[in-house]
């Protein structure tokens, strides 16, 4: 027992002190927050258009008045075609000029001159407002004017909220979809990351012969177990670190939003952010059941990690060189990659047949069941998946331990598959 603790301590502490580990633990939550916050930040960027001043030259004679665009003003300029559009822009201190070249029943040709490359958003506004104006004008000629206002007055927005009846009427937002994808991919990443750490460790000890020193006094299976547990603790440390940092960021944002609402905050990244947006995001996050999701995440990380790391440990014991490692890793992690692909289906229909089976099969269940848990799963599904995973983990650890024990001292040419199978039988 003391030996096991001794092994776990080394595996854990040598890795937890590594700079790369500390950096990933600290930085990953910030990147994640940026991914969530940047869309809000960019949506605020449209405010810039209010300060634009754009001129209009109408060669077709169909408009002949200023466009009323909510975002910015477009003033009708005198004259028809101007030869020197550049000096016109410069003299009137304009940001750009909309030039309507010609217009007939079927199409209208418009050119937009500007100092800067216009954004797609700006192009859209210009196009739709000209289109609406022309539509308005022609409808007016039939006696039904101001049609766009009338349409918008009569329009009724429909908000669709999905409620799953079997699940105590829980509501789902796009945040559930994002979180499903995010958690599924994160489970994949941590399983892969820490399993390959085990693999590299085994390979290092095999290459530098330290394994020969150690297993003269400790049984190989105990040593392998110590290594796997040590790295599992490392993984848990990272996950807990991430959770704490993410929770702190969320708390900070909550405070920031309320301060911002009171007019005390100076903005984020030099721009003002609408506190309503942040509050809406936080409110959405609150609809998610983190009390279930976090334990589930830890369970599926541990299950998947134990499964794959013991396979990796056995393979590293069989391998002779590290250059063979990458190829074999790719083959072994195929089910994981397949699961990530299936995840895109799970995001949209968590209860589909495909998602169901992938969430039951132990080699893919850590990812897919994690994704389904976000939406809530029937307890029976979860139970079958979890039990099957635990059972498979025990079987695989047993087999891997056997291969590890019998091949860690192997030298010379690589073992063939039949030789490995005969190791299992021995």
């Amino acid at each position: 027992m003391n030996e096991l603790i001794h092994i776990i301590q080394r595996e854990y502490f040598t890795r937890v002190r590594e700079k790369s580990f500390i950096l990933i633990t600290l930085l990953a939550p910030f990147f994640l927050s940026l991914i969530l916050l940047l869309p809000i930040y960019f949506s605020q960027q449209h405010e810039d258009y209010k300060e634009l001043s754009i001129g209009l030259i109408d060669n077709s004679g169909k408009l002949n008045e200023s466009l009323n665009i909510t975002e910015f003003k477009v003033n009708l300029l005198d004259g028809k075609w101007v030869d020197d559009i550049v000096s016109l822009i410069n003299e009137n201190n304009l940001d750009g000029v909309v030039y309507i070249e010609s217009s007939d029943f079927s199409s209208t040709k418009v050119k937009y001159f500007s100092k800067k490359q216009p954004s797609i958003y700006l192009e859209n506004i210009i196009r739709t407002s000209i289109r609406n104006k022309l539509l308005d004008n022609s409808l007016e000629s039939f006696g039904i004017g101001d049609i766009t206002k009338k349409i918008s007055d009569t329009e009724r927005s429909v908000f669709l909220e999905t409620v799953k009846t079997g699940d105590a009427g829980r509501q789902f937002t796009p945040y559930h979809r994002n979180l499903c994808l995010l958690m599924g991919i994160t489970v994949y990443l941590v399983i892969f990351l820490f399993s390959s750490q085990v693999m590299r460790g085994v390979l290092e000890e095999k290459t530098n012969k330290i394994i020969e020193l150690i297993i003269t006094s400790v049984s190989p299976v105990k040593f392998m177990a110590g290594k796997i547990i040590g790295v599992a603790l490392l993984g848990l440390t990272q996950i807990i670190g991430w959770s704490i940092i993410l929770y702190s960021i969320a708390t900070f944002l909550e405070n920031f939003a309320s301060m911002s609402a009171a007019g005390q905050a100076n903005g984020f990244l030099g721009k003002k952010i609408d506190p309503v947006e942040i509050n809406r995001m936080l409110a959405n996050l609150n609809t998610i059941d983190f009390n279930t999701i976090i334990p589930a995440f830890i369970f599926f990380f541990l299950g998947g990690y134990l499964l794959y790391s013991s396979i990796f440990a056995a393979i590293a014991a069989v391998l002779k060189h590290s250059d063979q490692m990458n190829q074999i890793t790719a083959v072994i992690t195929m089910p994981l990659i397949l699961a990530v692909i299936v995840l895109s289906n799970t995001v949209n229909s968590p209860d589909s047949v495909l998602s169901y089976w992938f969430s039951i099969i132990p080699f893919t269940s850590p990812i897919i069941m994690m994704g389904r848990v976000i939406y809530g799963v029937p307890p029976l599904d979860f139970l079958i998946s979890a039990l099957l995973l635990i059972l498979t983990v025990f079987v695989i650890i047993g087999l891997s331990g056997k291969i590890y024990k019998n091949s860690i001292l192997h030298e010379g040419k690589n073992l063939t598959l039949t030789e490995i199978i005969s190791l299992l039988k021995s």
């Binding site: 290092e204 530098n208 012969k209 020193l213 003269t216 400790v218």
Partner: protein, 303 residues
Amino acid sequence: MIEICNLLKRYKGQTALDNISFSIPKGCIFGFLGPNGAGKTTLIRIIAGLLVQDAGCVLFDEQPLNRLNRKRIGYLPEERGLYKNMKIGEQIIYLAVFKGLTKQDAEKKLRQWFDKLEIADWWNKKPDELSKGMQQKVQFIVSVIHQPDILILDEPLSGLDPINRETLGKEIVEFNQSGKTVILSTHDMNSVEQFCDEVMLINKGKLLLSGKVYETKQNKQSYIYEFQFKQNNEFFSKQCDAVNGYIISNKKGNYKVQLKNEEDVERILSNILIQKGLTSFSEIHPSMNDIFIDYVTNANQLL
């Protein structure tokens, strides 16, 4: 102290050790000799407890090997390395704890070793910062820090410069003089002559010889003799020709001669003793190198 009886080990139809028996007395430096692939590493691994034999036994103070008495073994594998991401001090302590030392004991003993070898400033270094010779010193400390009764060294001096060789060689002898047994596996016949009290020689899994180095040399008579005269001696050359002897070399009266048997020597000696000018006479015993090549070549011819 270590008794190896009828040891048999097979790998996939190949016999790595074929019914090997010999004993290693307590307190000696015992050489394991043999060409590459002879079975030395297999034998070492069975003694160290890394492999299990198919038949036969290894007795350790008349007890079979078990996990407990294996902690009395210190082992330095061939082509060894160290953990890259651990400081030197830390990793020696880590490995020493497996051998039954407490962390505190291991640290105390390690400080003593570092002071003795004058390498105290290596404690916080990583292996990448040390040269190969320096790393080898560290690995040697790993194998002896728990003061084992038996030390197994697989090519401990290979790749070392003369100074490091001298230092490590001294440590091996010192360790042995404290009454401990050392098993030395090597291809370097000079270190066999320098260190070993006893040797055994295996080839293709079969034991060719085992015994004391001195006796082995005595038993292997070469009939090469050295005669030292004050100057060139024509009479001596004629005497050699008379018994069909072959003069290997002659350097200003120092003759090396290959004869056929002991009677020829006696005849030459009785004849030339009448003459004056012979200052010394001695029989040249074969070196361990000669014995190694001779035995292995003969064994391979018989196969």
